[in-house]
């Protein structure tokens, strides 16, 4: 089993690969040069790495991969057509976990592959712990592998496949001739004639259950329990092999995991990775943009920003506060930190809350009890911690609201009926029987709350399904990101209008 040895006190610079002496048994002789460890871009991760790594690398590589897997999972729940899905994954990968082919220039190919491999193995440790985590990890890893496989250089891919030495049984010429009619019928050709395609094609014979997807689509001929898979559909065989090996390995790792807890430095890291993935959000932390571009929000502006830009959870709290002139503790905390995040300074926050409570509260009470809490949230009292606005993950999982509470995430914490009522009354763009509404409720049903939220963002911002928050279809992971993106889009729109007006473009008529 893969057992990382971390040297946490080494400087982070020590990134060079070292074969761990203690474990260098059979592997070390053949991998004396590091290039032979990763001769191909693609990797079945069959051999546990025996590399010394620093604790920092351990975490950094894992988080990079976690981000990718989370993104893949979110994308896959949006049921995009495959080419669109694949290209979205591709763009994201290029940025967060690039993996180049042997012919790539000006790239440290080995470093990329090392990072890829270590990230994979660390996440195995984090995700082997429950059947649910294993299944989700497996699905995302499969999608990742598939994307890479399909974009791989053809020659390199062929060499890689050869190295795996699959024992697929090739259908011989005699059998091929005997089954000509059947095999031909199952060929889905486009353009070229069936006869030609049949002559050029060769078939593997495998137990039908190794290619259940091809069976389900009736894309293979089946007889006597064997499926006849044309070479052109090889990807299914490869994915099946990758998936079943990884599945087995994960189960094995799960059985051996307790031994790993000895290293108490790794335990918390693994836990953190697993919980991040569980709530569907890849360790997303929010860095306020407000100090960056100096957009300050005043108490007067909150109402306008709320109506135009707040995510559903905050909109709900704000509307309630306006209506009841009151919010309970956790709700105040959730909204308060969020407001800080959008750039409401402390003094403006005090004004805002005072106004919202209105006549229902005496000045005395407000100053004594509430002002302290507000200042506390801004790090001016108590431990003087500068609390960060809560991420969706935190809202979804920490401090579950009771029946009297209004904090939390509407997608997760509202009953389906109430959610519909809330959405309809808040967003005029939504219609009870529209396909968008169905998308949203479907995502909620499958517990993909952030996907539902992203859909709301798309609908309320005139975006197409799958466009999400950002250029590569980012999903909502933080209420403040929701707001930032929404305001950014508005700014862009205003600037575009200004530009046009300034240029005296007569063709555009504004009304």
């Amino acid at each position: 089993m893969f057992k990382p040895s971390t040297r946490h006190n080494l400087p982070a610079l020590t990134a060079d690969v070292k074969i761990n002496k203690r474990q260098s048994t059979s592997a070390s002789s053949s991998s004396s040069s590091s290039s032979s460890r990763w001769p191909y871009r693609l990797n079945f991760y069959d051999q546990p790495p025996v590399l010394d790594i620093t604790l920092e690398e351990f975490e950094v590589f894992a988080i990079a991969r976690l981000r990718v897997l989370t993104h893949i999972e979110a994308l896959s729940h949006r049921s995009l057509p495959f080419p669109q899905f694949s290209s979205a994954v591709g763009t994201y990968l290029k940025q967060h976990l690039p993996l180049s082919s042997n012919t790539a220039r000006n790239v440290n190919v080995l470093e990329e592959r090392r990072k890829d491999e270590i990230g994979h193995w660390v996440l195995r440790l984090a995700f082997c712990r429950s059947p649910d985590l294993r299944a989700r990890f497996l699905r995302s890893e499969l999608a990742l592998f598939r994307q890479r496989f399909e974009t791989d250089d053809a020659a390199e891919r062929a060499a890689f496949l050869k190295s795996l030495q699959f024992d697929w049984q090739l259908v011989d010429a005699g059998e091929k001739a005997r089954l000509e009619t059947e095999l031909k019928t199952c060929l889905w050709t486009s353009g070229t004639s069936k006869d030609e395609a049949f002559r050029a094609e060769s078939w593997f014979k495998v137990p039908w259950h190794t290619v259940p997807d091809l069976v389900g689509q009736r894309r293979v001929y089946i007889n006597g329990g064997m499926a006849y898979v044309p070479q052109s559909l090889q990807i299914s065989l490869v994915l099946q092999a990758f998936g079943s090996r990884l599945e087995r390995a994960l189960e094995l790792t799960a059985k051996n995991l307790p031994r790993l807890d000895e290293d108490e430095r790794l335990g918390p890291v693994l836990d953190h990775l697993a919980t991040s993935f569980l709530s569907g959000l890849g360790a997303a932390e929010y860095q306020s943009e407000s100090d960056g571009n100096g957009t300050t929000v005043t108490a007067d502006m909150v109402d306008d920003v709320a109506r135009k830009h707040f995510p559903p959870c905050m909109r709900n709290l704000y509307d309630r506060l306006k209506r009841d002139h009151h919010l309970k503790h956790f709700a105040r905390l959730q909204l308060g930190l969020f407001l800080k995040g959008i750039g409401l300074p402390l003094d403006e926050a005090v004004v805002f809350w005072r106004r919202m409570y209105g006549a229902t509260m005496s000045d005395d009470k407000f100053n004594k009890e509430y002002k302290y809490n507000i200042r506390h949230g801004y790090g001016q009292e108590g431990k003087r911690m500068n609390y960060a606005p809560k991420s969706c993950q935190a809202i979804l999982t920490i401090n579950q609201p009771g029946t009297q509470d209004s904090h939390g995430c509407p997608f997760r914490h509202f009953s389906p009926d109430n959610l519909v009522i809330f959405l309809l009354s808040t967003y005029p763009q939504l219609d009870r029987s529209s396909p968008e509404m169905r998308d949203i409720l479907d995502s909620v049903k499958t517990s993909h709350y952030h996907v539902a939220c992203t859909r709301v963002f798309e609908v309320t911002h005139g975006l197409k399904k799958g466009q999400g928050l950002g250029p590569d279809g980012e999903t909502v992971t933080h209420p403040n990101k929701f707001v930032d993106r929404s305001r950014e889009m508005e700014r862009d729109r205003m600037e575009a209008i200004k530009a046009k007006e300034g240029g005296g473009d007569e063709d555009v008529k504004m009304d």
């Binding site: 039908w208 259950h209 091809l214």
Partner: protein, 425 residues
């Protein structure tokens, strides 16, 4: 004395006493255990298996499991359920589930099962409706059994198929091959999606869409084979017996399934409105019209030919309840249970004699108990043999035991092979 034969106590299947007598004296525990366990010593296939009981008054108890066949029998006698269902072998004993960590109870192995129910045929059968079934509409089930049995054996290579009458108007199939037990949910889904041809609700006229997105491909070779098997069934059951296209609603459905490129439908409708032709005559009329296209317009001919093939499939291909087969943890009523409504026993059905099977002749629990009453109390015969041997349940238990013996033979063979292999070292 001659009168006494007809004079029997009226046994009511909903009475607890009747069920208790059935479980005490008739239920074939031994072969039942061996069938699920595939070995003489209790294995995980039995001890980790879920049983769900439905008690009188519709109380439902899930996650029961048993160490031995005797323990199972004792519990059945104690609870006296109106029926019970079988689930998968789990990763742990289902009865321990409260003390297990979350997620530790995962379904692992399970027979591959199929469920065909007459309700799905209501729109095409003409003899009965609702909960009723007769020898005539059994014809649909018989056709379904023949096609599925053939496909599961020849195409997918399974050997140990047990067909079981569901006690009222359907049939189940249990496949016990090790390869079937091991299938994951994804694999089951793949197989079922392959086998499932009839899809779509009431509102959808055309329920067979198996020719790709443009609906103009050839049939998959396996479906083509099914089609050939079904052609005579279609003639016998749908055209002759059920006379599916006799009524206006019947022939309108037929017309709706024909392509509309040429005006074939118009004249046919005009003709059929004013005549009372049999389904056979109507079908021949359609065939003749399509036959005439062969020479004049070949692509159009192909199109109509495809449509006719699809119609045959729509009227005779097995209508399976796909969800039942897709998930290992789906519970299915056990063989040899008593159907609470009809009192009939869920007996095995021989697929090669499925045409002769008549649901009305399946023994009821009342009949069986009457047969038991008739055994002379002190006859030496009764001592030696099991009670069921004196009843009309015997041939069914015999059939079941033969099936179980074949499974055991194979599993013993597999075990011996595994042993020899490990001795090689």
């Amino acid at each position: 004395m001659a009168i006494a034969v007809n004079e029997h106590a009226d046994y009511d299947p909903s009475s607890p006493q009747v069920m208790n007598a059935f479980y005490r004296r008739l239920f074939p525990y031994r072969p039942f255990f061996l069938w699920l366990n595939q070995d003489h010593v209790p294995a995980k296939l039995y001890t980790h298996r879920e049983f769900a009981f439905t008690l009188q008054g519709d109380v439902y108890i899930r996650y029961n499991s048993f160490h031995t066949a005797d323990e199972f029998k004792r519990e059945v006698l104690r609870l006296n359920p109106s029926r019970f269902e079988i689930g998968p072998q789990y990763s742990a004993r289902p009865r321990d589930r409260k003390t297990l960590p979350a997620g530790a109870l995962q379904p692992q192995r399970r027979e591959l099962v199929f469920d065909i129910d007459m309700t799905d045929y209501d729109e095409i059968r003409t003899c009965c409706t609702d909960k009723k079934i007769c020898k005539r509409c059994w014809g649909f089930i018989a056709a379904a059994v023949k096609v599925l049995d053939h496909g599961l054996r020849e195409t997918f290579g399974f050997k140990h198929l047990l067909w079981v009458y569901s006690g009222r108007r359907g049939i189940h199939c249990w496949i016990s091959d090790p390869a079937a037990l091991d299938l994951t949910d994804d694999q089951r889904k793949g197989l079922v999606t392959f086998m499932e041809v009839i899809k779509g609700g009431k509102e959808q006229a055309k329920k067979v869409n198996v020719r790709g997105s443009k609906d103009e491909g050839s049939l998959h070779p396996v479906l083509k084979e099914s089609l050939e098997l079904l052609k005579p069934e279609f003639v016998d059951v749908c055209l002759r017996d059920q006379d599916c296209f006799r009524s206006e609603q019947g022939w309108e459905t037929l017309l709706a399934l024909l392509p509309t490129d040429r005006d074939v439908v118009g004249p046919l409708r005009a003709d059929w409105k004013n005549s009372d032709k049999s389904s056979m005559a109507k079908w021949e009329q359609v065939m003749k019209l399509v036959g005439e296209m062969r020479t004049s317009n070949s692509p159009l001919f192909r199109k109509y030919e495809r449509a006719l093939e699809d119609i045959i499939l729509q009227y005779s291909y097995p209508r399976i309840d796909a969800e039942v087969s897709k998930h290992r943890n789906h519970l299915l009523k056990a063989p040899f249970c008593v159907h609470p409504g009809t009192g009939r026993i869920c007996v095995p059905v021989n697929p090669s004699l499925v045409d002769e099977f008549d649901p009305a002749l399946v023994p009821t629990v009342g009949e069986l108990l009457n047969e038991l009453d008739r055994i002379p109390p002190d006859s030496g015969e009764a001592r030696k043999a099991d009670d069921y041997e004196h009843t009309s349940l015997k041939p069914y238990v015999d059939m079941f035991e033969k099936h179980v013996a074949a499974i055991l033979r194979d599993s013993r063979g597999a075990k011996r092979a595994a042993k020899e292999e490990s001795m090689d070292f």
